[in-house]
């Protein structure tokens, strides 16, 4: 076993783990960041979504070795103060019920909005179809992504 260095939420971690271990379990059990969730283990539910070099990946099927030397962002690192536009929109609309799926939903939504700052309902559905919510909070996910898009627009017009 050799150590694998990964930058997680801006901090370098040197991990002595089986390189085959999914990133999910390395993040949860070895690094100790518990915000990323296990839901299915087979890339079906999206609960484990993190950003790998800025792209949303399912950490349950991403070998930790694939992240070696790369940058990973988890829900804990999405913003310092729980105030990424997606997080603010989620709070405004009270999207979560049990909340278990929402680390993944939020990480997926953040990438969706970065790539498409003004998504239609159809764009949102296409971008979020990989995230299951057993509590059925989907209507609010849609609504909150529109709201977050509005917030992004406001921020960027202020910056112009």
């Amino acid at each position: 076993m050799s150590s694998i260095i990964i930058t997680i939420n801006g901090k370098d971690h040197s991990l002595d783990v089986d390189p085959q271990m999914p990133l999910l379990w390395a993040i949860r059990d070895v690094v100790g960041l518990k915000g990323t969730k296990y839901g299915c283990g087979v890339a079906q539910c999206g609960a484990c979504t993190v950003h790998l070099n800025g792209e949303a990946v399912r950490s349950c099927v991403t070998k930790v070795s694939r992240a070696a030397g790369q940058k990973v962002v988890t829900i804990e690192g999405l913003s310092k103060n729980n105030d990424h536009p997606v997080q603010r929109a989620w709070q405004e609309i009270d999207v979560p019920q049990c909340g278990y799926c929402h680390s993944g939903q939020i990480m997926s939504a953040a990438v969706l909005l970065r790539d498409n700052p003004n998504p239609t309902d159809a764009d949102i559905d296409a971008g979020m179809a990989g995230n299951i919510c057993r509590c059925g909070s989907y209507l609010r996910v849609r609504k909150a992504i529109h709201l977050a898009a509005g917030m992004e627009r406001k921020v960027s017009s202020r910056n112009e």
């Binding site: 997080q87 019920q97 049990c98 909340g99």
Partner: protein, 717 residues
Amino acid sequence: MDTQSVSRRNFLKVSGLTGVMLSLGLYLPTHAEEAEIINTAGAADLGTDLNAWIRIDALGKVTITDHRAEMGQGSYQAVPQIIAEELEVPLNEVAIVFAQGNRKYGSQITGGSSTVRGSYKNLLKLSATARQMLIQAAANQWAVPVTDCYAEAGHVIHKPSGKKANYGTLVADAAKLEPPKDVVLKKRADYTQIGKPLHRPDTPLKTNGTAGFGLDKTLPGMLYAAVERNPRLRGKVKSFDDTAARKVPGVKQILKVKMLVHSTPREGVAVIAESTWAALQGKKALKVTWDDSGFEHLSSEEIYKRQHEALQTNEGLSLKQQGDVADALAKGSKKLDVVYQTPYQSHSCMEPLNCTAYYQASKVEIWGPIQAPDMVQDFISKEMKLPREKVIVNMTFLGGGFGRKAFTDYPYEAAVISKAVGAPIQVVWTREDDSTQGPFRPGISYRCEGAVADGKISAFKLRMAGQNLGHWMGAPKDKPNNSTNEGFLKPYTESIKNLSIADVPFETPIPVLWWRSVYASTNGFAYESFMDELAHEARKDPMTFRREHLPDERVQKQLDKLAEVSGWNSRKPGEGYGMAITECFSSTVGQVVKVSKNPNGGVKIDHVWAVMDCGWYVNPDTVKAQVEGSIVMALGAATQHEVTFKDGMAVDKNFYSYLMPRITDIPPIDVFIMENDADAGGVGEPGLPAFSPALTNAIFDLTGKRVRKLPFSLATV
């Protein structure tokens, strides 16, 4: 010296040590409806522990105990929101803690949508009592009439002078007062928090990953366990080869375990490891030979065949019988005799089952996503022969519950493994374990016979053949399942003179359990599909037909609302509209579903309207969220997934074949809440049962095709 003064002095001594506090709890004598409000001294007099629901410290900080599980339905807000209202403190300034499992809180089983309806009256009174004691303490300090003082935002104010005191400065004096017997409760119109869509206090914890779920618990020295369980209930382990499993790096120990499902043992092999991944790898590498002797290798076809046969030959155990159904059926000119079929379902909580336990020197502590901490405490205390106080059960946030996490098997298993290993253990269920092990919602068939005469129902006979989950908990087998009429509106039974409802005994070895809205989740489909068939037979508009059979003012108003919001009376030809109305846990929900032909084949859902009548409620936004979520869950159960059995095992193991509704499947859903003064009904479950019949009734309206078997495919219907 009387005992009261002794305990009061004792109490003051104790509170002097721990910092002054006003703590109030509830004492509910057996069978009493109304609780007595007690403080520490009162509790001592009664020889019990104080169940401090409200604690206010010398800084004025208010801590409220949530005695129920938070699994998405909002108890973490509802309980504090109720208390904050009468206590006159802003919800966002109180701290909320989960109670441990303890009988002193009364029943903690978070099921039957009972958190609010079961406790709100006592909680309102409790908080008003605390408020009154604080006002009294202020009046005493200022030597002014108590009637000149009022409470607001964590302070008592003297009206004439405008003098103001923070609760914290009053708790020492308030704690010495006897809780007043009669307090005046606020009127609903005067509420500033109850009935308002306040933000949920748990939302921020759920947007940055800090909400602690069961799987997030860690303890120093904790090891992880994954268990390969016999895929068949009652199956045992014959032998196992763990040579390969032992070679997996991080695997520490492998042992045979026995878990009790109800009172039936199920055996498996546990792999104990340093990380979840190592445990899962070890589990995969095991070679287990199962002993399945004595188990019936059932299949789904077999189950339904037996149910249908039973419905043709067996009159069943009567639950309700009025008039002369046989005669009315014989005389009826327009007769119907149909069978509906509903599937077994898995709860499939987003957070798979898991539990953390630490057994040491004759005591065990449990942490987990637990819906019924008091039941877990009872069960483990009995099975492991430990006194109740040596079984400490802590609730984490639950990543979904839906009834599954009100069960005792998985915490018990964790406790057993921790005892055997001698270390704190977190048992992780894989999604595959969670999908295939059960207990499941029972799949049920219904035979409905009926007749109409003069546009009205002249006979209505329903027989249900499905597993009685009460039998797993010791209910007598010669009595009908008393949930056979769950879902069916009571006013129907007043208007239908010839009515019979019976339970046809049906058993299998498949373990079954409550699933969101329990029997109403399947009964509702049968009752309200059949109501629609009878309406059609009577050539009546389905809404009008129901109106004519529901002689109840409250329900009539709800139907008015449902017709109004859905545009029922202005629907156009070519549009498919269906409705259904069901009762569940003292709330009634009516739904209208609109469907149209999908250009790619089949049918698509265009819109859902739901009208919830839950009487008194706490948070309208939570009520709406719960109905939305219930509809999505019902959509999945009606059109996407079912547990099928083959050779005595559940077939579908993960979400690639046990399909879940996704965002792409969700139609617009509008939820409306009836406003009235009725007592509180349930919120978390009652939105579910009406959806599937409203949907299939809409499909009938559009296509003339009657769907009598769930699940069905929208794409091919």
